[in-house]
């Protein structure tokens, strides 16, 4: 039977912890909204980029670019976009599990985010470079990472580049996802919507199809413009990946912290009940002792 003092101490410590988790939950919620808005404000950029790519692809039939060159894969690179901090539920565990099937001799690992880098160190994998990115990812950071990947690919060091990140499906669902960056097989339309992927929006498609009829002049020529647009396209894909990863991290942390706060509340409730029981038992036994003593005196 724990003493009342022990119980009081435990309740107090749990209450303190719950205050911290509650605060973290709020912070994560705010940051998640910020990441989502960041993705939304980038929407006009995405639309325009999609439109240009669409037009260019119509006008360029036979096109090859060093970034699109397919080679037999001898060595591949994997960029792991993880979080810097823990306490975000099963996010990193799920993400890092995806690394295991990769052949450690023929794969060069790159990490963005500390957790991924730590995992690679721990499992003695070949970590080539580590990048950092802020809570609200900057386009400049994405550009740095993307340049590095492009250089490794173009120099023939690696023949394939993939990125492993957490895809933001919704606030309560995030999934690890592997996406091939290089060589560029096909230019998929960029999807700027971080908010809800389950409902496909086709507003962007309608806008671009109305302009397909326009014949553009290009300077120096269509292939040249497309060629210099590709690196930009890649930079932006990396930027989006960073945004997705951040949004996933914050929403996952928010959910984890909410669970922790709820658990703490339940614990406090149980312990308070226990504490009152112990206190009542102590009072009863004391009363009993006093009355017994009084009765003994009377006799």
């Amino acid at each position: 039977m724990p003493s009342t003092r022990d119980l009081r101490r435990r309740i107090k410590s749990i209450r303190n912890t719950s205050q911290i988790t509650k605060a973290m939950q709020m912070v994560a919620a705010a940051k998640m909204r910020k990441a989502q808005t960041a993705a939304l404000t980038g929407r006009p950029y995405t639309d325009l980029l999609n439109q240009m790519l669409g037009n260019l692809q119509n006008d360029v039939s036979e096109f090859s670019h060093p970034l699109m060159e397919e080679r037999p894969v001898k060595k591949s690179a994997l960029l792991i976009v993880s979080t810097d901090k823990g306490l975000c539920g099963p996010l990193n565990t799920n993400l890092l599990r995806e690394i295991l099937p990769y052949d450690r001799d023929n794969t060069v690992f790159l990490a963005a985010g500390r957790k991924g880098a730590q995992f690679l160190h721990r499992t003695r994998r070949n970590l080539k470079a580590e990048f950092t990115f802020k809570d609200s990812p900057d386009f400049v950071e994405a550009r740095g990472i993307s340049r590095f990947l492009q250089d490794s690919f173009l120099s023939g060091e690696v023949d394939k580049v993939e990125v492993l990140y957490t895809n933001f499906v919704s606030t309560i669902r995030q999934e690890p996802k592997v996406r091939q960056l290089l060589p560029i097989l096909e230019l998929e339309k960029l999807d700027p919507d971080l908010v809800d992927k389950d409902s496909e929006s086709d507003a962007g498609d309608a806008a671009s199809s109305s302009q397909d009829a326009t014949e553009f002049l290009y300077e120096p020529d269509a292939a040249g413009v497309l060629g210099s647009l590709l690196p930009h396209y890649l930079n932006y894909v990396v930027f989006q990946v960073l945004l997705e990863a951040k949004a996933s991290e914050h929403s996952s942390r928010m959910v984890a912290m909410k669970n922790a706060t709820d658990n703490a509340k339940q614990l406090i409730k149980d312990l308070t009940l226990e504490y009152n029981k112990v206190r009542q038992a102590a009072i009863t036994s004391e009363l009993l002792e006093i009355t017994t003593a009084a009765m003994a005196m009377e006799n």
């Binding site: 960041a38 404000t41 980038g42 006009p44 950029y45 325009l48 980029l49 439109q51 240009m52 037009n55 260019l56 386009f139 400049v140 550009r143 740095g144 340049r147 590095f148 250089d151 302009q211 326009t214 014949e215 553009f216 002049l217 290009y218 300077e219 120096p220 413009v225 210099s228 647009l229 930009h232 932006y236 930027f239």
Partner: protein, 137 residues
């Protein structure tokens, strides 16, 4: 026939500008370009530099980073990394950024860092160019 052009400048973080203008001058990769309404549809690269546009009789300058421009008869869309209005340029900060970038250029850099620094340098130079023009005029 369109009488004005809708000028749009978009960056990954925002739509920096979306206004009706009468004339746009921009730093295309092959040289300065001036565009009036009803231009033939045209796509090209832009270098970091200065975009000037006229609204009525007023001329406004903006600094932009490298990117792309898509020109339609009634619309110009500029896709770039950076866009700052003349009034928002902090000359001291741009100057500082320029110095920093130039200092780093003299260090030993690998290719990737070099490209980043050069982009930063071009951006800060573009800002300075726009800002200083106003002092002269």
């Amino acid at each position: 026939m369109a009488q004005t052009l809708r000028l749009e400048i978009v960056t990954p973080s925002e739509t920096a500008l979306s206004e009706d203008v009468d004339y746009v001058g921009l730093p295309a990769a092959a040289g300065e370009m001036g565009i009036y309404p009803n231009h033939v549809p045209f796509v090209t690269e832009v270098a970091a530099g200065e975009v000037a546009f006229q609204q009525k009789s007023k001329t406004v300058f903006m600094a932009i980073g490298a990117g792309f421009v898509q020109i339609m008869p009634d619309r110009i869309s500029i896709l770039t990394d950076m866009a700052i209005n003349e009034d928002h340029i902090d000359e001291e900060r741009a100057e500082e950024a320029r110095k920093r970038a130039e200092a780093r250029l003299s260090e030993q850099l690998n290719e990737e860092e070099m490209a980043v620094v050069q982009a930063a340098l071009a951006n800060s130079l573009a800002q300075l160019k726009v800002k200083r023009r106003r002092h002269r005029g």
